[in-house]
Assembly symmetry: C2
């Protein structure tokens, strides 16, 4: 480790608040977590300069914030509570101590907002671009996790918020749906859940495949965000379902729970029924004339 | 995600063996772990092409193996059992599917050897060099973890194996001390423990500082590996204590447990008493004439 790495770790140890589930955090070979009697939920995401953000225009603290936020979105999609975060970074040589501190400040500000303890990590310097990997450990009551595979024929499909055009800024500043997931957990009737990261079309394919059901989405029901790209409604809908990085929740509920959900949903974040699950396989659009056509999993796919 | 990323994940799901503590692994937004009634231990390390290995000469499966092995070394240093691994990779564009598979094969071979489940991760492609981050979740009986801070005045200092020159090959092929740690856990008299990653001198400073003790090491007691660099004994001792990446265990025990330990140690891996802990602070060499001099924390420090 370099001097900057030691200094960063010493600084982090003074900054980090604790919580009872984390009896040992930064400073040993590993961290300890006491989650009794909960099940541990583990998620991880790696973010790369030039792929998930561009440091030529994005400040380091927003890059750090996003690295934690995308993981918290996964924790929300599991119906869990976030407990501890583990942050590994590769800092470009010459970026200096200030850069590393700003990245971690962005992480810690968001962590504090959701009572997440920064409990460990790894700090490196190298000649390559900036890399940050975050792993988050959460907890959920045993058997109460939200799985992608829990969708059932007859379920209604819903999505929170509005979709499309997150690249114009929301992908850096979005609030992960932890509060909404916690509320849905207490509400108790959620079946399949996934967060919209690859794009609604791509992520819906995961739900349909894992649940062994057919998904039908009303073309006209898609909540299109004002940031979505395109000059025609059709173009803007394509943006909404394929851009990705919306980090909204896509989930299913029994049809007879609709009234209960909408009657008690306490959030300003929108909630929209976009379709339903049926017997069969695959994902389909339902057009205004009632006809259906296959939905391609054209989400955020970058080939190489 | 690209086609290669989807294909890799599908392949991994067919390759991964389970264990009862991991009811849900690859394929959802997160993994589930049931560690009741154990405490969870979480470690993470990020490895970078050109820093921790050089893919110009190192095959991808050894890079993958090392990425898991260094984490298992941390789990061993906590006195824990490894349960599940989470692997994030950034694959260089053009490296192709074969490269990604080989990296994961190296990880999975070692994982199988130690009954570790590959339970999740994140796969990316980019224009930068290869990056791999591994996080491992382990388990330890409550209150039985090995901490760096548990050293006591009067303890003997020990190290497993021999040190120095790991860069010539052992840093890629070493066996993490999981079996030795498990045995020490059952033996029951271990105080402070750390794995030798930054170099014995640097890592001993961590133990002394965290334990609030003074460490004294007999210069002539250092077990020097045949791979250590240098033509004189002094040069080779410097290599042994400063090269780093030995991934041996450095630990302390009560002086009166020495006979019990050496009388029952069942491993071919060497075990050497190198010094002791005392009241005070800092790390010191004891020379053959009985005099002492300060030990610099000159381990594996790369400045930038």
């Amino acid at each position: 480790m370099s001097r900057i790495e030691f200094d960063l770790i010493d600084w982090l140890r003074t900054q980090v608040a604790g919580r009872k589930e984390v009896p040992l955090g930064i400073g040993d070979d590993g961290a300890l977590l006491e989650l009794d009697p909960h099940t541990a939920v583990i998620v991880t995401d790696m973010l790369l300069d030039g792929v998930h953000f561009d440091l030529k225009t994005v400040p380091p603290f927003l890059a750090g914030r996003k690295a934690l936020a995308v993981n918290l979105s996964d924790i929300a999609a599991m119906g869990a509570e976030a407990v501890a975060a583990f942050v590994s970074v590769a800092i470009p040589k010459g970026a200096g101590s200030k850069f590393a501190h700003e990245v971690h400040q962005g992480i810690m500000n968001l962590a504090a907002q959701y009572n997440v303890v920064l409990a460990g990590g790894d700090t490196n310097t190298w000649s390559g671009p900036f890399v940050v990997n975050v792993a988050v450990v959460g907890q959920v009551k045993k058997g109460r996790e939200f799985r992608r595979s829990a969708g059932k024929s007859g379920d209604l499909l819903l999505v929170t918020g509005a979709l499309g055009g997150s690249i114009t800024g929301r992908h850096l500043t979005f609030e992960p749906c932890l509060k909404e997931a916690s509320w849905l957990q207490a509400w108790g009737h959620v079946h399949a859940t996934i967060d919209v990261s690859d794009g609604l079309a791509a992520d819906l394919h995961h739900v349909a495949k894992e649940s062994g059901v057919r998904a039908v989405v009303d073309e006209s029901a898609i909540p299109v965000h004002p940031d979505a790209a395109g000059s025609t409604l059709t173009e803007r809908r394509v943006s909404a379902v394929s851009d990705g990085e919306d980090f909204e929740l896509l989930f299913s509920i029994p049809a007879d729970s609709r009234e209960s959900l909408f009657g008690s949903w306490p959030f300003s974040r929108a909630l929209t029924v976009i379709g339903e699950l049926d017997i069969g396989a695959g994902c389909f659009w339902r057009h205004p004339d009632g006809s259906q056509s296959p939905m391609l999993p054209q989400g955020w796919v970058h080939e190489f």
